[in-house]
Symmetry: C3
Subunit: 353 residues, 3 copies
């Protein structure tokens, strides 16, 4: 049994996938049925009929209420039973657990903790996502058979790019550039610059660079489920390249993690970028990311298999582990103290100022 931060908003599903049909999801070891009410809100219930334990998602939507597919017990979107077919007398006081939801950045966020603490203003937001100057392309819901902290390790770790993503996001330049890490409020930032080096395959393909570039990777991690990677490249030669990022090609690669259970996570990813792209280019870019994230998935799944096979094997620690170690300590504190982390909207631009 894994441990999870209790009182926080978690991403659960793409808004585009939640319609007037019942859909089944899983988060923090519980099944959840989602649907969109006539009024356009997202309803979320435990996906379990209290009568015989059939998933409610195998039933039918009747107006805004869910009818169980076995005997027709019906629950309104607030979770209260409103009908027991074939039974006379008042409807018994039977309830299904419901969960607050909120939509932002193309995703449905869910709160499974204490209901009175569920403040929609705390849902994470990236201002650039809404700006006309920036361009958004939604990605996939990538299922990974790895626990969420192992995926989070990967998202606090610029150093793996050189070795894992050689065909897309990395090249051999800068393998030995050390990474820096710093906690800014509740934003764990891990970064490095690789300067005066050839562009990585992705930017070589979509950019107009004629010579070497300065390349940055800022990994922002907001525990337990949000990672935004500010990365890009610009022509080499600036004294303070950090201040010139917006003049280069810049991408915020967002990863919103659903901890499904102790061994499974879902990575909802999208990118927000400062250069225009038509639909075909966006699709091509997403395909590059698909290749890269499938590489991460293969590695994280192989590691989980070995971790389960070697539960007592001590791991060697090296310099690049500083950020993941700090990340895990942060998460553990939030779990132990039950203090909700602050994931509220923020500007990530100046993190290394």
């Amino acid at each position: 049994m894994a441990e999870y931060v209790k009182n926080t908003w978690y991403p659960l599903a793409w808004s585009r996938d939640v319609t007037g049909e019942l859909s089944r999801h899983r988060i923090l070891e519980r099944d959840v049925v989602l649907y969109r009410t006539a009024g356009g809100k997202v309803a979320a219930m435990e996906d379990l009929c209290p009568h015989r334990l059939l998933p409610l998602s195998m039933g039918r939507l009747k107006g805004d209420a869910v009818e169980c597919g076995y005997h027709g017990m019906t629950f309104e979107s607030g979770g209260r039973c409103v009908r027991v077919p074939g039974q006379s007398g008042p409807v018994p006081d039977i309830r299904v657990t419901t969960y607050p939801t909120h939509e932002n950045m193309g995703l449905v966020w869910i709160w499974t903790g204490d209901r009175e603490l569920a403040d929609p203003d705390l849902v994470f937001d990236l201002p650039e996502y809404h700006s006309a100057a920036w361009n958004v392309a939604e990605g996939d819901a990538l299922r990974i058979e790895a626990d969420y902290l192992s995926l989070a390790d990967n998202l606090c770790d610029p150093a793996h790019v050189n070795f894992v993503h050689l065909s897309t996001l990395g090249n051999e330049a800068g393998e030995d550039v050390p990474v820096s890490t710093e906690l800014r409020g509740d934003d764990l930032v891990t970064w490095r610059w690789i300067n005066d080096a050839p562009a990585i395959p992705l930017f070589a393909k979509y950019g107009n660079f004629t010579g070497n570039v300065d390349r940055w990777h800022y990994y922002h991690y907001l525990a337990p489920s949000i990672a935004v990677i500010d990365f890009g490249s610009l022509d080499t030669g600036n004294v303070n390249p950090e201040d010139h990022r917006d003049e280069g090609m810049r991408i915020f690669a967002c990863h919103f993690i659903t901890p499904v259970d102790a061994h499974t996570s879902i990575d909802h990813w999208l990118h927000v970028k400062n250069f225009p792209a038509d639909e075909a280019t966006n699709k091509a870019l997403s395909d590059e990311f698909r290749i890269a994230f499938a590489e991460d998935k293969a590695i994280l799944e192989a590691i989980q298999i070995n971790e389960l096979a070697h539960p007592d094997r001590r791991k060697a620690r090296i310099a690049i582990d500083r950020a993941p170690i700090r990340m895990r300590r942060m998460v553990k504190q939030w779990i132990d103290k039950d203090v909700p982390p602050q994931q509220a909207p923020r500007v990530l631009d100046k993190v290394n100022a």
Copy 2:
């Protein structure tokens, strides 16, 4: 480990499938090899060679004896070893467990309890099965990943038809008609009438009803493995429609359950009906039943997954649970007291007289 009634006849396989070849089956957590002897009897043995534990069904039939496929040890149909190849001296006293069998209603029934109690006269029989006025169509052996009591719940439960089988056996009429239940000897009968309503899809398709019908469902359950559903429709308008069932379209849908193990059952189903049908119509009717029973299978399997995932979850009880609760209490008593239930041949017609 599930619990089972010990001294009773269980259905194990279709007679049509037991030939002069060895076939492997499983019931009550034990493997059984079946074959038909030259004299036409069905032999049943534990499917396990006492030498190296190879399934005997991987061997060969030599006359009426089974030769193990590894070293040729040979057992006559009574279970006694009659040959050990390559070994001199008298054949050692090695035995395989055998089981009494009896054939009726197209099925091989097996007795795995105390051998001296195995009375073939106790095997269930439905007289209409043998009557020239009735028409029999054998169905399948439907494997369901659900324990036999969960399948039995479903077979004491007319109320689910409205919600599970809308395309075949049910419609929305009568959702709120309560069900009645009564124990008649050892026959647990659960029934309801839905009167003056449109015919269900099945009867609308194969009957000649021009107006509304009176529809009945009598679920007869004879623990632990026999369920016969007497259902049908006739033109509405009779004062005592119950007495006029034979004037309508009437079907005895029989379900003979093999409890395979704690999590698996096999439903051998067939129907006996009072209206003639050519082969094509019988096949079409069976296909309708296949759709309906696949719907039950999907629900029962989803429930079992959730029951295993939520072992401590208390279930809400509603009016239609009376029959299943009574059924489970009956089975438990038979198990606890080791009293064989009476499943002998019977006329089910007058159950509600």
Copy 3:
């Protein structure tokens, strides 16, 4: 958890499959990565990066060193870490376990016991393998879901051939000929002759026998992983057929077992024979063996399933069990006393002299 002889050479992979690419193998419940160095030696390491437990086989070969596919930690073929990208200062003292290897008879042999005892002169060898008068055909690496001792039972057991391999290696003649068994040094020999009988299908197909033949099977077992079956046929009529084996068709069928884990073995098989054969005939012969060994695999896997399902079931013992019982006692002694068995090169010809 199975038990294994510790200090012995085990076959692990075909030499033909170990190249300048990393390949993943498993033996004695541990994962091993193999590759061939520039100098042509076979390097073997535990397939587990000490940093995050990624299999090293998912990385890359850099010269003779292995670079982990996640963060580029690099280990030379002796197991020592030689690089930690992005980390300044001396390379930390981090090591991967390595294993001695030796190649013979087309196979890579590995030693996972005490390194100082790993004497390549102890690797098994069959002189005929190297003789110009004999003809070698390599087979497959057959994965069997059975523990290695169950496979070894099968390889101390001429009697099963009559019942398991009727289409290839056996026929019904001689079913009742008893087998003899004898321990010669550390070679457990189990044999029988079936004289003046029709040729088995394999020899009927590839030999020129016009009448009955004398057929021999000598099963040599050198614990825990080597079995050589000297079998063949010659025209019937010799007084001492044993001395005339080389005048008939003679095959040394070699089985080199990799104990993968408690439930899985790999049988590396090849044949060495005294009659010439072109490539097509060798392929045809190997296909016959494939059929036969697939029959063994089916039986051994079915037995393992039943052994796991019936852990307390006592097995009946019969005459042909003498060799397997002795074999298991030998292996147990080697395990308990940790005495390395002698598998060194040997002439198997005169075993029954």
